[in-house]
Symmetry: C2
Subunit: 291 residues, 2 copies
């Protein structure tokens, strides 16, 4: 058991948004090593079909297996919504998605019993949030809405201002004033747009981001299985990506909330685990502001 | 030679935007069979690194080789900009990109000698349009600008209205009134936003879309090599995609400008050419309007 205890926590996402979940896990478990895989070569998943999302998720999981992790956190709402049960079949590794924790937080937060969920097209079409919320509280009224452009806005860094406001209004105005008092941010990119979303939704609406609740789940599962690390701090965070495009590190650091020493580029086909390159931090890399 | 003449024209793109190029080719060469491959499982390419774009482009080309095409049209501006020379190395198949034709059309259109180019981050960072334009006319003044959100707007179908207007203003207002008289739409998605782009740029500015000029190049190369089909019409268009997500056919038909009988889903790794599924057209599929 002691060997398993020393292994890393694995986390994957379609891109770099899942680093917000890593941030929360590292805050609660500063002694744990964490290996993050972001499938930046094939991002986004949320516009793709459930079959393709499952196929990619299996490869992502396979990569984390090669790193001998002790638990896997699926920090991608789309994968959590459309592929988690199939992904877990025949797995001995504990898998934690972000959807159940988000639903739990929302069900606890609402007073009116009216909840809205926003996410990618794939997440919303799966109706997985509805199912999770209804299994917690069958009396809930749930409205759900795909907001695909929010991902591009967050990646462009246009998280406030005219354009963000116009997009948020176009998507959310039908929800504001509908009696909803809780809004689930069902995509790891959306928390970056929290301010403008809150402004459009109005004062009475609580925004739920599943990162904190997911991290709490990780702690619970590690303790229940007796595989929580003994170390109090000094955990190492490894960031592995299938592509390292321009300004990638800058964006990663924005999500993780701390500097990243190096990014390792690995093939998106885990089985082969061809290591493509190392991207060490340099001053030139960090400035990345020639636009 | 006659056997080669009967083979199809191959066209590939990161997604379905390249169908606008297929439309132009089919208009000029209605007797030719065309095989289109859109890498919808890994779309977009324009946010990814040049190394990853080249790797994907090689696999796309390999797929078209398995279909024994006689010529390959790279209908993706990002691939044309960052990967075309490397992709052509050691190839016997003629390769036609969209960048040179677009540059030629722009150089012919300008009167002031001031040209602006808009495209994905990868296309703009490559400076391939600048190089192509300068090799045609060294005296040109060229401004170039990445407009990543235009792709998401086109895919969301928000091609006009408040949001499109706000995004176009934010990107293009610095260009309008700068003396530019020609704007190259350096991404196959951008022609869908022509109206709003034209409005923001003002009356004196010509918008250049490389689809027409690229199709003219295809005709020239086929004739020069003596491999143009003898048939006057009745050519078949096959649409192959690596993912067939929700509302995919609807979007394809918008780009192609005609109904598509069926979409064939193939693996994005050409070499294996695992056929994943057939997606035949059904009424249910076509409505696709439950949002």
């Amino acid at each position: 058991m002691s060997e398993e205890r020393d292994r890393a926590i694995g986390v994957f996402d379609s891109g770099v948004g899942g680093l917000t979940v890593v941030r929360e896990i590292a805050r609660r478990l500063p002694g744990e090593d964490i290996v993050y895989f972001g499938d930046t070569a094939r991002v986004p998943y949320g516009t793709k079909s459930p079959g393709t999302v499952l196929r990619f998720a299996r490869e992502d999981l396979e990569f984390l297996r090669t790193r001998r992790v002790k638990i896997v956190v699926v920090a991608c709402n789309t994968v959590s919504a459309v592929a988690l049960p199939a992904l877990g079949q025949g797995q001995d590794l504990p898998l934690i998605g972000v959807l159940e924790p988000g639903a739990r937080a929302a069900a606890a937060a609402t007073r009116t019993g009216r909840i809205a969920v926003i996410g990618t097209m794939a997440t919303i079409r799966s109706q997985a949030y509805e199912a999770a919320l209804r299994s917690l509280r069958p009396d809930l009224e749930i409205v759900s809405l795909p907001c695909p452009l929010f991902v591009s806005l967050a990646e462009e860094g246009w998280v406030d201002g005219d354009v963000a406001e116009a997009v948020a209004r176009r998507y959310l105005e039908p929800l504001a004033g509908s009696g909803v008092d809780t809004l689930v941010l069902g995509c790891t990119h959306y928390p970056l747009l929290k301010d403008v979303i809150a402004r459009v939704m109005g004062d009475g609406v609580v925004l739920v981001d599943s990162a904190e609740e997911t991290a709490a789940d990780v702690v619970r599962v590690l303790e229940r299985r007796g595989i929580r690390s003994d170390r109090a701090d000094g955990g190492n965070i490894s960031v592995c990506l299938s592509d390292v495009p321009y300004r990638c590190r800058e964006i990663c650091e924005r999500f993780l909330g701390r500097p990243i020493e190096r990014v390792e580029q690995v093939a998106e086909h885990a089985a082969t685990e061809r290591e493509l390159a190392w991207h060490d931090t340099t001053a030139a890399d960090r400035t990345g502001s020639d636009r």
